[in-house]
Symmetry: C2
Subunit: 194 residues, 2 copies
DNA sequence: CTTATCCTTTTACAAATGTTAAATAATCAA
DNA sequence: TTGATTATTTAACATTTGTAAAAGGATAAG
C-alpha cells in the first residue's frame, strides 16, 4: 500500500483535470504502486502488452521503438507527465514500444484493467479518463501538424522554446529521432543557429 | 426531426463501438440533423469554433488548413467515418481548419454541447464517446509514426494499399499535402513506380 | 466544337537531408 | 589519472525533396 502523501503530485494532476470525490480518490489510490527504475533501464520492454498507466513522479523517461534497427523516440515524459503506450493499451496488442528511464526515475503505476472496472461504479473516474485521452489526442494532432509541415529547423526551434532544459538533459540522438531527422542533420541545424 | 431510418448507418456505427440502450439511442437521435453540401463547398470555414460532431452519411470530405497560403489536407473522411476538428472541439478555440465536401455529401451533425450534457444522465453515452476518442487517438499516433519515419514513397504505397480508391476519387494535390509532400514530388513517386 | 480552366506531369536547378566515415569532445569506470 | 566507451560534430558525397516554369491532358461551360 502506497502512502497517500507520496501521491500528492499525481492526485493534484488528476484533480486539475476533473474534480473527484474522496471515494473516487481513495479507489484510485488503492490501485497505485511506486516503481523505481535506474537511469537507462527499461520500465517496459518491446513486445509486452501494455496493461499499466504510468505517471512520472520524479525523473525523466521516454517511449521508443525500433525502426530498421535504430531507436526512434516517440515521446518524452517529464515530472508530472503521464506516459501511456496507447497503441497497445487500447487495442490489447503487444506494444512495439518500450518505456525507458533517462534518469533515475520513480513512476506511479495503475493497472489499467482494475482502473477500467472502476468506470462501472464511478462515472467521475471514467470522465476523468475521457478528458485525459482528449488532451492526449489534441496534443498528438498538434504534434503531427508540426512534424508534417514545419521544416526540421523550425521543429528544433519550437522544441527548444517549449522545453529549453531538454537539450541539456537528453542525448541529442534521442532528440534527433524525436524530431524525425538524423543526428547528423540535427548537428548541422545546431551549427547553423550559432 | 430526422427520420430514424436515415440514421441507420450512423447508429450501426455507434452500436459497434458501444452497445446502447433504446433510451440512449433516442436521445442521440433527437440531436441529429442532416446537412447536404455540394462538391467543393465547405461545411465549416476556417476560424469558426467547432461545436458540432459530424458523420459522413454519403459522400466524401476532408479537413484542411492553410500553411503559407497553401491548402494542407489533414484528414479524409469516407462514408461512415466521423469527422471532428478535435483541436477546436476540445479546447474551445476557433479552429484553424475547414471541412470541405469533395463530392456531394450528406453529413449527420450532432451539436457537441447538447451531446456532452447527455453524459451526465447517461454514462453509456460518455463511455461510447470515450471509446471513439480512444480509437481516434490510436489512429493519430499510428499516422504520426508513418509520417515521421516512413519515406514519402512508403507512405504513398501504404495509403494506396489501404485506400486504393482514393487515388481515383481525390485530386492528387490533396493526397500530396496529406502525405506531407509537394505535388511535384508525388508525381515523381508515381512515375518511379510505373 | 472551342475556349478557358484546372489537374497532372515533366524539366532544370536549388536546397535540404541522408549516409558513411573520420575527427573531436565528453563521460565513465578501473 | 588513464584508457575505454559513448556522444557530438564535421566532411564529402549521394539522394531526396522543393521551387519555378512550361507543357500536356482532362474537364466543363458557352
Amino acid at each position: 500500500m502506497v502512502n497517500k502523501t507520496e501521491l500528492d503530485g499525481f492526485l493534484n494532476f488528476l484533480q486539475k483535470i476533473q474534480s473527484l470525490s474522496p471515494e473516487a480518490i481513495d479507489s484510485i489510490v488503492g490501485l497505485c504502486s511506486l516503481i523505481s527504475i535506474r537511469k537507462n533501464q527499461n520500465l517496459q520492454e518491446i513486445g509486452q502488452k501494455c496493461r499499466t498507466i504510468y505517471f512520472v513522479k520524479e525523473g525523466l523517461a521516454r517511449i521508443y521503438y525500433l525502426k530498421d534497427g535504430n531507436e526512434v523516440t516517440e515521446y518524452f515524459a517529464f515530472e508530472n507527465d503521464l506516459i501511456i503506450r496507447a497503441e497497445s493499451l487500447f487495442t490489447g496488442k503487444p506494444s512495439k514500444k518500450a518505456i525507458q528511464a533517462l534518469e533515475n526515475t520513480v513512476f506511479i503505476g495503475i493497472p489499467s484493467e482494475a482502473l477500467f472496472e472502476l468506470f462501472d461504479t464511478k462515472p467521475e473516474i471514467e470522465r476523468l479518463f475521457r478528458k485525459i485521452i482528449e488532451q492526449a489526442y489534441v496534443a498528438t494532432v498538434l504534434r503531427m501538424e508540426a512534424i508534417q509541415f514545419h521544416a526540421a529547423e523550425e521543429r528544433y526551434a519550437l522544441l527548444f522554446s517549449e522545453k529549453p532544459n531538454l537539450i541539456q538533459q537528453i542525448p541529442l540522438k534521442h532528440i534527433a529521432s524525436y524530431l524525425g531527422i538524423t543526428q547528423v542533420s540535427l548537428s548541422r541545424i545546431r551549427a547553423s543557429i550559432r
